[in-house]
């Protein structure tokens, strides 16, 4: 450690000889993280069924990735993106496990065996997110307006089926089956589109 190093985290990563080299390394990291954040987030989210803890896990993952960034050395520049996601997801999986051990006392927590299996499966198509997202947008367009609004409103921040049921006077059970039917249609549509795209 250079004893005269600045106390700013971005300037104190070990092995960075000049400030400008450190800065370059930092912006490289930020841009990789920024570009792939959503994929990593999706990965973490899939291991946390209630969605609780995703923000914590992401924050810890991002921090850890930067701390270990030195050890991230992709073979070629072309591989960097793909390798970065995989590398970050390994860290994220570990963070999910430790988050659950520390704070995951609520009911919807996967046992570790499930997390391991899911993580393995999820690792296979980490870069699917963009394609999937495009397919979902296309499929949403195929829905009728009110269907689209219904399905989106239950996913809007702060909304839930129960809340919307209360506000609209539609019975929860009926609303659920409506929303779930829409979700199934969307899911099938997405799968079809992805298959067609090959």
């Amino acid at each position: 450690m250079n004893p005269s190093a600045q106390p700013n985290p971005e300037t104190s990563s070990a092995d960075q000889t000049t400030p400008s080299a450190r800065e370059a390394r930092y912006s490289e990291f930020v841009s990789l993280l920024a570009r792939h954040d959503q994929s990593i987030r999706r990965f973490a989210r899939s291991l946390l069924p209630s969605g609780q803890g995703v923000d914590d896990v992401m924050q810890e993952t991002a921090l850890e990735c930067w701390k270990k960034y030195e050890s991230f050395t992709p073979e070629t520049a072309e591989d960097a993106a793909e390798e970065f996601i995989r590398w970050a997801c390994v860290i994220a999986r570990y963070k999910v496990l430790s988050w659950q051990r520390d704070r995951g006392r609520d009911r919807l927590v996967f046992r570790e065996g499930v997390i391991e299996q899911l993580a393995q499966t999820a690792m296979r198509d980490l870069s699917q997110r963009e394609r999937e997202r495009n397919a979902i947008e296309a499929c949403l367009k195929e829905l009728e307006d009110r269907e689209r609004r219904l399905v989106l409103s239950v996913h809007a921040p702060g909304e839930s089926v129960a809340k919307i049921a209360e506000e609209t006077g539609i019975k929860v059970r009926r609303l659920y089956s409506k929303v779930n039917a829409l979700r199934k249609r969307l899911a099938d549509c997405v799968q079809l589109r992805l298959l067609e795209e090959g």
């Binding site: 450690m1 106390p7 270990k68 921040p157």
Partner: protein, 567 residues
């Protein structure tokens, strides 16, 4: 993908799934690749829908305004569904967020640790330690505040209103006040004080102490050279090995027993004193008698041994009386054990219930010092096995234990082998909570936990009763299972630390033990060579099991009669 499973997935993501269904879903996820794929797709769908909904505020607002009649809305939210390029926007947002996060959380991470001004260790942490990668994976290092240890004492009587310490306690900075007795205080720099009461001291740091009142002898080995004793207006700086100090309200003096000291401040500023020389720091100089009668390390040791022997003797008498208590299921007063092969059951229930030493159990000093015996279980194979057949109406477990560390997730005190119906498990969780439990229904699948073959039992926890500051100290622990009174009570050093009712679902009327172990868990899985590592890293020197629920008063008296010197 069948609809049922899909619905389970949606319910899990909506958080409306039942416990049983969640278990079913987990099983399916664990066993079937296609379920995992479907689950991951659904998470993707959920997340994308959430993103799209969040990004299209427009839609949400409009939707809210038409919420009253959701079925009638016909205007198409064409662009509102977030079909513009969210990636670009997300990218920028993240570039900013990420850099703020790195700065802010890095700083917060450390500020969380360094903003305690009373902690001299942490204050020196430089912010650049933020990035030393090897620090990240480790759990936060545990810190203790203090400058010295009360290593030994005899007949110490703490003054009214002053903090009381026990042998082995770490002393923080601040006042020590006792009216009688002798205390040996080891400073972390290596200096040792033998203080005769009555005395009042101010522990200032690893390297200095102020004497307000009292007589003491300071031994300062080379490693601690520079240790300062403050008395009256002066500082006595040690340059040699041993000196004595006496301070009363109107007088203060110092005498060098061996070596050299330098005086700083006060009326003798700059003086050096060598072996045999003495100096008044305050008050009359007429009396030049030497400081006599001050306790030495040897005196302390001798007095301590005497007191300890006396206490041990008293306990033996109590122990003899206790062994005649007809309510005992078994009683192992290990402290007076002679054999290195087994520990006799001293209760009337007889030698059938003796404990057999298995594996690397090692004899150690008991709580009355070298004259008494404890058994150490600090290696995984170490155990004392016993067999206690029969049925019981209640349980009281009481033991004297020294815990060096809680190095396993569960650390055994006393465990029934197979943990079958009515059998007890008494252990300490890694976080310091004492746990007492009885198996209610050992039929696989009857349990409430996530495991498929979980069995029904109930663990009664205390709040944490142990942390690293108690390492190596003797504790009296007790757990009382009272089926009739429907209560589980737990105790530390005679004081009740928890009380919990036994609800119907977990009510067990007939208690059993069978084969069981002290300090370890024998054969949790009978048909497998594997065993959970739960040996106690520490020692036990007395264990009693009663077929009755002892009262808090009874437990208090067990503690009082069995407590060692310095308690």
């Amino acid at each position: 993908m069948d609809d049922h499973l899909r619905n389970l997935i949606f319910q899990a993501l909506d958080q409306t799934i039942s416990d049983d269904d969640f278990e079913r879903l987990q099983d399916a996820l664990e066993q079937h690749e296609d379920v995992r794929i479907e689950y991951l797709r659904s998470v993707g769908l959920y997340e994308s829908l959430t993103e799209i909904a969040a990004e299209s505020d427009e839609l949400v607002d409009r939707d809210r305004s038409t919420r009253e009649a959701p079925a009638q809305g016909t205007s198409a939210p064409t662009r509102g569904v977030g079909l513009d390029d969210p990636a670009a926007w997300g990218w920028q947002r993240w570039a900013i967020a990420a850099s703020i996060l790195l700065l802010a959380s890095g700083a917060a991470y450390w500020f969380g640790r360094i903003n305690d001004p009373s902690d001299p260790i942490a204050v020196d942490l430089r912010p650049q330690q933020v990035v030393q990668p090897e620090q990240v994976d480790e759990p936060a290092e545990s810190l203790l505040a203090g400058h010295a240890t009360l290593s030994r004492s005899v007949d110490l009587r703490w003054s009214n209103g002053s903090v009381m310490y026990r042998e082995g306690d770490v002393l923080p900075n601040g006042r020590l006040r006792f009216d009688a007795g002798v205390a040996e205080i080891d400073f972390f720099c290596g200096a040792t004080l033998i203080v005769d009461g009555p005395a009042e001291l101010d522990v200032e740091s690893d390297w200095s102490v102020r004497v307000i009142r009292g007589r003491l002898r300071a031994s300062v080995p080379p490693a601690a050279r520079g240790f300062i004793v403050k008395a009256a207006d002066s500082e006595i700086i040690d340059l040699g090995t041993e000196f004595a100090v006496e301070v009363s309200p109107d007088r203060a003096r110092v005498e060098v027993i061996d070596g050299e000291v330098e005086l700083r401040g006060g009326r003798n500023h700059g003086d050096h004193l060598v072996t045999g020389q003495r100096q008044w720091l305050k008050g009359s100089q007429s009396d030049s008698e030497s400081l006599e009668g001050l306790s030495t390390v040897r005196d302390l040791q001798r007095r301590r041994e005497d007191a300890q022997a006396q206490q041990f003797q008293q306990w033996k008498t109590h122990s003899q009386q206790l062994s005649e208590d007809p309510r005992l299921i078994a009683y192992y007063p290990i402290a007076q054990s002679q054999s290195d092969r087994f520990i006799p059951n001293r209760a009337a229930t007889g030698s059938q219930r003796d404990g057999i030493l298995v594996g690397p159990v090692t004899p150690a000093d008991g709580r009355f010092g070298p004259a008494s015996t404890g058994l150490e279980f600090d290696r995984p194979g170490a155990r004392v096995r016993t067999r206690i057949d029969g049925e019981f109406a209640a349980f009281t477990f009481a033991c004297w234990v020294r815990i060096d560390s809680l190095e396993h997730r569960y650390n055994s005190l006393f465990m029934g082998d197979g943990y079958e119906n009515g059998e007890p498990h008494w252990q300490i969780h890694e976080d310091g909570r004492m746990m007492f439990s009885i198996m209610v229904d050992d039929t696989p699948g009857s349990g409430l936990g996530p495991a498929e073959d979980a069995r029904l039992h109930r663990i009664y926890y205390t709040d944490p009763i142990w942390d690293v500051s108690k390492s190596g100290k003797w504790l009296h622990l007790a757990a009382v299972y009272d089926p009739q009174g429907r209560q589980v009570n737990q105790f530390v050093n005679g004081e009740q630390v928890s009380s919990e009712p036994i609800v119907d679902q977990f009510h067990v009327q007939t208690l059993r033990i069978g084969t069981a172990e002290i300090g370890n868990w024998g054969q949790p899985l009978r048909d497998s060579p594997w065993f959970a590592v739960r040996n106690l890293n520490g020692a036990i020197d007395e264990l009693a099991i009663f077929d009755v629920a002892l009262t808090p008063h009874d437990i208090q008296s067990l503690y009082e009669q069995g407590k060692p010197l310095g308690y």
